[in-house]
Each structure stands twice: as structure tokens, then as C-alpha cells.
Symmetry: C3
Subunit: 432 residues, 3 copies
């Protein structure tokens, strides 16, 4: 038996496949072969030959609620996510009313082929529209480094890079609408160690053909993260990012944000600036996990370069979360983001899921004394948002969220009265 | 051998998996193990261990033309449907002409994960649009009961609840356009026995964010069905449904229907009513299967509550169908709907498929003496539709349909002359 | 052993399945059974029974970067393609500027079920739109013959019928925009031998319901190809096609083309003709493969029948390509098209991929002395396009392309000055 296991281990190493992680179908055939070999039914030579052939098999897995396929040199996954939101909104203006929407409804196919090449095709069909999300080809042939071309996340901050499947509140903080870069069509290179990441990218705009006799806008950026501590229940994260965006037509740009409520159709934080040539974004990020408790904060500043001089916008948020059921937020030091929370006990397998409480404060300042210069800035809002949330992770892939949001919009630029927008909103979420 | 089979049966029960229905791959490995055990090549203990591991495998099935994946605690299916229609229309007005369209073109992923949780993500892309169909998360942890949240069928009548894959004629009866509830974004609870069902739901509108400073419309409903007889070739179905719809803005609502022809762009049965506050819908349904012969009928009444008083609309249909090749329509007593017809012989496996003839009469009355109140009702149509159909089920999932439709629109409200619209239409259909 | 192999071969023939091409999972179980049989562990009878059961299994394959499923009577594939384009354009007019777009972003499910029935559902989501591509049901029960109904390629020329995954340059020649038929919603019958094909079709327009009180336009066509030589590295292809298009409203039709650059939004070759009743298209095609070198050419003529007489448009292209790494373009004599180039060595498996150089000249003439008849023709362009290209096939399914395009638009009809449009454009492409 020992020799057999050794021979298997050597083969596994040669094949570049850890047997421990081999999917079920192959593992099952391998077990039959192991038994037959141990019983002397088949010879070592026969075992070796059959083992090699069996390891060519494609194994199918539904583990964790995901449909995956894996062979010696290729992987495929078919998946998606659904988020159904229901909200009751009260407001000083006319945003009142109960509403519902599918916040996200995505399907994707992703894969790794010919060992070194990855791809992902992901679309969002929520609101009966088509919106391209990840659409890229990746080359992963260098150690710990991935080169991507196509539509994908450009370097940006911690909350922006963390998947919407895993964010702590129903909406990312209001400042992300103005300061995060998000997905763009371009090229990026990402490299990492166990506890650090470095990601640089150069991009055009989105997936559409926008050519109308002028150059499409472009930009570039970089992000670096470092984790002095990176464990399953204890972690400290530090990060910084910079990005630049060039505007070819030097026209009017709007810097707009929703108050962490998405079921309203307007973005009440709304500043227009004329003659914008380019912007520079600076971000700082920090987070800590201490068992069931975690903290996270980010600060952003944006310098808007115009023909009439430069203007400074900024914002920040901070939040804490606590798992009543003892789980920890899942920090990935080699990716510089947070990942999936796996409840200690699962509803459907005799458990109660994971329960998490959170509170977040966000502050946004889109006012830089601009209103006094006619035609330059027609809004100039400041504001703050407080969100209190409860999350129930029934299974690793199914989550129910409830958020109470209290926001204040200060129309500093226009000298209008302040405006309060409050909402109670709930979400049912699955990813597969 | 007997002991082995017993031990397998006990294990199967413990694992909660009926071996009879186990997919092919696992079944095949199990057969090899059974043989090796019977030959004395492996011991009972080895058999037991290998059996348990093999049963963890994901098994893939293409049975019946569907791609399915199944493991111990999860199931996935990737599928869709295509319906290509071609029609020749003659009309007293200006709807003349030959036309074609894809009536439905859908893709879906559905699954059951962590034992008790279901989901489905289904979109229709016909006509180069995106239309959300089933987008829901389900909890199935209670016996014979399913709780769904998201976009899905709210309680409504028999023809409305029966999948478009299985309806007897190319279009549902004309009254469904006005009286059926269809899919809405909300919550519903469905419970059932072998021969009865009970389904209640509460819903907002569709998947979009429609908030515009007022409450989104909402509604609720319930449906109950009972089958005194429920067999493979003999069945009697009885059912009743009620639903209520609230309109927040008390505006003008249109109650419109096509005459069982979908390739025309207008809906000639068209009644407008002003100041609509709410509607109440009442439905009665009955059906019977007697071997190759079946009957089905439904009656609907709608009470429209307005500031100017209440108005009553109603309609009904009845149809019979007969299988020349001896099949029976497939009634599902535990679901209160009709399901897939499986031809006795399949084209592609030496057979000729199933052949079915059907005839349906529909009557719709959207006129309640309203035309005499100026501004309240600008149309007020009545009418009737006769459809004669032939269906060829080449395989369980591929069907070709031909319908001759003769409809009369009586413009009672506007005192215009009656209008005849006839069509000969054919469909090629597959679901996968 | 010999007897076993013979028995297997016979069974394989009876089952209609070539064992050589059986997917991995089944093949792997078969190997175990072969070994057990050879060792005398199981009897011939047991072997036969287990073999038959194992062959019912669904086998999953990721070979060649494609996800496929296969059982005894069914096949499924889930796939798609991504093409990300980046271009720099210089122009005499106002098409200047750098641009990017996703040229294609498709997902599909296709299958073969109940032995004789095929289907495909393929959509393109590039530019955040939904565009139906292949949506058809096929009957393949006759030898070497396929009958398709739904949206699919109608008979047309060589470059038009060759998949965009395999075309030599980033865009098909400019004449295809005007002369190729493409996908239409209808019925077609295709039959073939090893070195010839015959394809006839009858079609309505696209997948939408366009009925507006008149007949939808229709057309028909036929294509025949013959290959005197058809080998892996040597081939000669000859073909001819004819198609007819009827226009019901006898209105104004535009015959428009891009200059082999897709990132511009206009189609500068643009001829309008009034009162068009019908068109007839004639195409001739020839190609040759001589090891790494290949040639391809097509000529098209279109007769436009109008109330004011007939007008003749025509165009042609010719190109050569050469593989620096020794591969040959892959001609399929039984399909009359070119297929996938498989590089001799693959990046990710120790290789460098395949490298190909190509040059193409296209000429288009949409001018027939029409400008002198007022109101009949408002443009009347002629022109030519030269494209020089380099392709790097990193793997069989991943390709990077660079094209330099130089085009001249002669506004003969309007007597405007000639216009030069040049572009350097690159593409990253994957299909899965």
C-alpha cells in the first residue's frame, strides 16, 4: 500500500494535480483502482496505466452549490447571481414610495484552458437590460501573475474590488459611485504574494463602439495592498490606489452618487463641472479582522483638472461588523479583497446559518466653493449616510439582508435646504 | 447477492437517494462494484466504502433531451426553449400579411442546493429583447411546501399555470391576456397533496425599478385545485382562483387581448377604463382526461373598481383534444397543471411521434354598458375566437403545431362594425 | 485479449459509437473493465453487461477548450466567443480617433437529441444589445442531409459561410456587407458528399414580428461547392451561389458597407435606390491550399430590379495567407468552408502557437450611372480596400490579430472628392 500511495503521489506531482483536490468522479474511480490493487486483482503496471487514463477524465462537482468541471488541463464553471430587492423610502422631496427591483441578475461562463489561459464571459440582465460585466481573456503562464485583456475590474479601492456577492451592506458606500473606477475595457497586470498584491491597468471605456470622430476616453491606474497579518480569523489589511482618467472632449462631467439606496432612480449627490480635461483619484484603505469582529475604512480624494483651474472632491467611510454566530469575515491576503463567508452551520444541513450585524458611516464632499463661479458647478453637494444592517447567511451562497439607511444631502452649492432620504430595504440573494 | 442488494437498499434509503433514479454514471460504477462483490473480488467492507464514495459523485444525464447534473445534496439543469412561428393573416382592417417571429427563445439555469434550497434564472431573448421570466430563490425544507421569493408565477388559472411548452394550442385562450396574473416579483407559498394544491402569493410588479415618487402597484391572490380522479390515463381536475390588484395612481387602465394570434402587433380587444383603483379576479376551472380524449374549460370574471363605480368584465373558453396515436394529456394532480406529453414512439428511435387534434372556443366580454358614460370607456369590445389545431410531437421535447384561428371582434362600445381576423399559423418548438 | 477487443469493436459498431472518439469518462471505465476481463476477474458475460451499462453513461469532455457532453443518443455543448477590438483610425473626413469595442460576445447551447434531432440557441450580447444568431431545430435523420428551421445561415458565399472564429482577417471583405445573405429565419436543406455540398433555403426576414399590415419580405437561394482536391494540406475549392430577395413595399433600399473597419459607426460605401422590387445575387468562389500557403477569391454581382429599370452592382476580393510555422488552413470539403486552424505547438503546453501572414485586396462597385436619374440614387460609391494582417494562434481557440487597412471611397455618384480611411486595428479572440 505504501508503495502504491507513493507512486500515486509522484504521479500526481508530475501531472500537476493535487489528488486531495481532485473532483469526486475521478477520486471515486481512483478508489476502486486502489482497492483492486491492494487486493492483488490488478498489477502495479496495470494500476499505473489505468490511473493515468482515469486522471484524464473530466470530473464534475456541485460542491458548495457551484457547478464546476475539471480535467487535467482545463476547468469550466457555469454560474450566476440573483439579488431581489424590496424597499420602503421616505424623503423630503418626491422619492417617496415602496419599490422593488432585481438589483443584479447575472449569468457567466468561465474557464481555464490549455493550462495557462483563462476567460470569463459574464452578463447582467437585471431590469431587462444587457450590461457587460467580466468579458476577458487572461494569460496565467507566469508565476502568481495574471495578464487580462477585455472588460474587467481596473485597479481601485477595497470595497470596489470586493464582489457584490460579499459586500457587508446591500450597497457599497455612496462615495464609490464617484470615486471607484469599476470595470473598463483594457489591459491589466496583477501579481501577488501570500500577503501582498500589485495591480496596474490601462483602459479605454466600456464594451461599446463609441467612436464619433474623436478619441475614446482612456485612463490608467495602480493599486497595492499589504497584509501584516493574514489568518483565517485574524487579519490586518492596508492598501493604496491611484488612477488617472483623461477626457478627450473637455466637456461637462457629472459626479453623481446614490445615498446607498438603489431603488430610487435619481442620484441626489450631483455635481456638474465644465471643461474637465482629466481627473486624478487617490485612495487609502485599511481593514482588520479580529475573530467575529471586523473594521473597514477607506478615504478617497479626486482632483478635477479643468480649463478654469483644479477642484478637489473627497469622501470616506468606516464600518464595523460582528458575527453573532462566531464566523469571521474572510480576508484573502493574496487578492487584497474580502471573500465568501461560510456559515459554521448551514440551513438545509441541520444548521441555522450565520448572523451578522453591521453599521457604516459615509461622508461625501462634492463641494469646493465652486458655486460662486457661474457655469462651472451647478450643484455642489455634501452629505452623509448612516446604514445599519443585518445579514443572514442561510448557506454559503444564499443570503438575506436588511438595511436601514438614513442619509442627508446638503445642497451647499445651490444653497437649497438640506434633504433627508431614509429607507428600509431587504434583499434575497443567491449565487451559483 | 440478496444480502448485497438489501444492504444497498438500506444505504440508499439512508442516503435519501432512490437507486432506481440514480443517474447513469454512478449507476454504472455501482454495477461494476456489484459484479466485483458477487465475484468475491472485493469484500463487503470494501464494497461499502467504495459504494459510499461512488455515491458522492456527480452524475450527468441527457435523458429525455435534457442536460442535468445530480449529486447527493445538489441538482443543476441548463436548458431553454425555442418556438419559431410562421403565419398568414387575413383581416377586415389592416393586419393582413404573412409574418414570422420567434415566439419564445429562452435560456435558464436552475438548481437545488444544500438539499433544501432551489433557484431558477430564466430569461427570454425572443425579438432581440431581454425579458425576465423565472428569477427566484425557493426554500423547500418543509414537507410538500415551497416558499418562493423573486419573479415567478403568482396564483392564477389552469391554462395560465400550464407551461407554454405544454399548452394544446399555439396561444393560450384570448381571455388569459386580460384575466391571468402571470409572473410577478413577490413571495408565494405553495403546498400540495397527491391530488390537491393550494398556492397563495403577494407581489409587487415586475423586475424593474419603477419608483417614481409613488408606491409601486401591488396585488395578492390564491388558487386551490382538487382532482377526484388522478391517474395516468384518467383524471378529473377542479380548481378556483381569486386575485386582487391595487393601482396606486388611480389612472386609466387598458384591458387588452390578442385574438389567439401573436404575429399581429395590435391587440384588437381593447377596453380603457378611467380612475381604476383596484380589480378583483375570480376564476373557475375544470378538466377531464379520458384516455386519448380530454376536455378543459375555464371561466373568469373581473370586477374593476373605479371612482365612478364598478364594472364587470368576463370570459370563458372550452376545448377538447384527441390523440390519434393513443397518448393521454399528462395531468399532474400534485401540481394542478398539465405536463409533458411523451409520445409512445419517438421519431429518431424508429417511431412516428404522437398526433393530436384539438378545437377550442373562446368568448370574451369587455363591455359593461360603459360607452354611455363619456370618458370612462373608449372601447368596450366583445368577441369570440375559434381555433382548430393539429400537434405532432416528434419527440417528447420537439413539437410541430398548426392552428387555424377564426376570430370576431365586436366593437360594441364604439358602435363600429364587427371585424373578422383569421390566421393560419404554424410553429416549430423544442425545449432542452 | 484479441477476442475481447473484437467483441468490443463489434459492440461499438452496433452502438454506432466509435470507441476511439468516446469521451474520457466512459473510456476510462471501459479500460478498467478491459483489464478486469483480461485478468479473468470478470467473465465475458459480466463484461458484456457492464460494458453496455457503462456506455449509457454521459461522458464529459473539455478537450480542445470546449465543454461537451455525450451519451449514447444525445450530445450537448455549452460555449461562446469573445472578440475585443482596439483601433486607431485616420480619415479625410471626421471618422478620426482611437476606439474600442467588443466585436462579438456570444453564448450558445447546442445539442443533438433522440439521435436524429439537432438544435442551437446562440445569442450575441456585444455592445450591450441582444442579437439572435443561430436559433434553429434540425432534422438529421437522412444520410448526409440536414433540414433546418429557424434563424440560421442561408446559402451564400465562401467567406460569409466561414465562421467569424476562423476568417483570416478581422473583418470579412467589404463586399460581404452588400452581397452576402447571412442568417435569416426560414427553412433550408443541406446535403453533401466528402468533397461536395449543395444547400438550398427559403426564408422570411429576422426573428422579430415585423407584421405591419403587409407581407414580410422573403427570399430564397442555393449554393453548390465542389473540391477536386481535399486533403489536410492540399485542397482546391470551387463554388457558386445564387439568391433572390423580394421586397414587398417596393420602397427605397440602401446598399451599404464598411471599409473592413468595424469600429467606425458609419458605412461610407452607401448607395440608395428607390422603388426596389427585388434583387438577384450571383456569386463565384475559388480557393486553394498548398501546405502553409493558401489563396481565396470571390466575385459577386447583384441585379437590382426597380420600377425604373434594372441596375447592376458588383465586387470581388482576393487574398493569400502563409503560415510561418508550417500549419495549413483547414478546408472542410464536406462543408464547403474553412474551419479551425490547430497550431502545431500550443502556448501553455510548451509551444509557440501558429503565426500567419495575409494580404487581401477588395474592390466594390455600387455605381451604375444612376446619379443622372434624380431621386433614384443618392450616393453611388465605388472603392477599394487593402488589408495586411498578422495572426497569432496561441492555442486552437485563442487568437490575436493585427490588421492594417487602407481604403479609398470614390463618391462617383455624388461627384464628391475621393476619401481615404485607414486603420490599424488589433483583436484578442477566444471561443469556448
Amino acid at each position: 500500500m505504501k508503495q502504491t500511495k507513493l507512486s500515486v503521489a509522484i504521479k500526481a506531482t508530475l501531472l500537476g494535480t493535487a489528488i486531495a483536490s481532485a473532483p469526486a468522479a475521478f477520486a471515486s474511480e481512483k478508489d476502486i483502482l486502489d482497492t483492486l490493487k491492494a487486493n492483488g486483482t490488478i498489477s502495479q503496471a496495470q494500476y499505473d496505466e489505468l490511473y493515468e487514463k482515469a486522471s484524464d477524465s473530466v470530473t464534475v462537482s456541485t460542491k458548495g452549490g457551484h457547478l464546476k468541471f475539471k480535467s487535467g488541463d482545463a476547468k469550466f464553471q457555469l454560474g450566476g447571481r440573483l439579488m431581489a430587492d424590496y424597499a420602503a423610502i421616505s424623503d423630503d422631496r418626491n422619492l417617496d414610495g415602496d419599490g422593488s427591483e432585481f438589483r443584479r441578475a447575472r449569468l457567466f461562463v468561465k474557464g481555464q484552458i490549455f493550462n495557462d489561459w483563462g476567460f470569463k464571459a459574464q452578463y447582467d440582465f437585471a431590469e431587462n437590460d444587457v450590461v457587460a460585466k467580466d468579458l476577458y481573456i487572461a494569460y496565467d503562464g507566469f508565476d502568481s501573475t495574471s495578464i487580462k485583456v477585455g472588460n474587467h475590474f481596473m485597479p481601485s479601492g477595497l470595497e470596489a474590488q470586493t464582489s457584490s456577492k460579499y459586500i457587508t451592506f446591500m450597497e457599497r458606500s455612496t462615495i464609490q459611485d464617484v470615486f471607484a473606477v469599476g470595470r473598463k475595457n483594457g489591459v491589466s497586470v496583477a501579481t501577488h504574494g501570500d500577503n501582498w498584491t500589485l495591480h496596474g491597468g490601462l483602459h479605454m471605456q466600456d464594451v461599446s463602439n463609441d467612436n464619433d470622430g474623436r478619441d475614446e476616453d482612456y485612463g490608467y491606474g495602480v493599486r497595492a495592498t499589504f497584509a501584516p497579518i493574514t489568518g483565517k480569523t485574524q487579519a490586518v489589511h492596508l492598501g493604496a490606489s491611484y488612477s488617472h482618467q483623461e477626457f478627450d472632449d473637455n466637456g461637462t462631467e457629472r459626479f453623481r452618487a446614490r445615498p446607498e439606496i438603489h431603488t430610487i432612480n435619481t442620484r441626489p449627490f450631483d455635481t456638474k463641472i465644465d471643461g474637465v480635461e482629466s481627473t486624478d483619484n487617490y485612495g487609502l484603505e485599511a481593514a482588520a479582522v479580529m475573530g467575529p469582529f471586523s473594521l473597514q475604512t477607506e478615504y478617497f480624494a479626486k482632483e478635477v483638472e479643468t480649463a478654469n483651474g483644479d477642484f478637489d472632491l473627497d469622501g470616506w467611510y468606516a464600518y464595523g461588523s460582528y458575527f453573532l454566530t462566531g464566523e469571521s469575515r474572510s480576508y484573502k491576503g493574496s487578492k487584497g479583497v474580502f471573500g465568501r463567508v461560510k456559515p459554521k452551520s448551514v440551513v438545509g444541513k441541520g444548521g441555522i446559518g450565520a448572523w451578522e450585524l453591521g453599521v457604516r458611516y459615509s461622508s461625501i464632499d462634492l463641494y469646493d466653493g465652486l458655486a460662486t463661479v457661474p457655469g462651472i458647478n451647478t450643484a455642489g453637494e455634501e452629505g452623509e449616510v448612516l446604514t445599519i444592517g443585518v445579514n443572514w447567511y442561510a448557506t454559503p451562497t444564499i443570503r438575506f439582508m436588511a438595511n436601514y439607511v438614513q442619509s442627508t444631502v446638503e445642497h451647499t452649492g445651490t444653497l437649497l435646504a438640506d434633504e433627508d432620504i431614509d429607507a428600509f430595504q431587504v434583499r434575497a440573494q443567491i449565487d451559483f
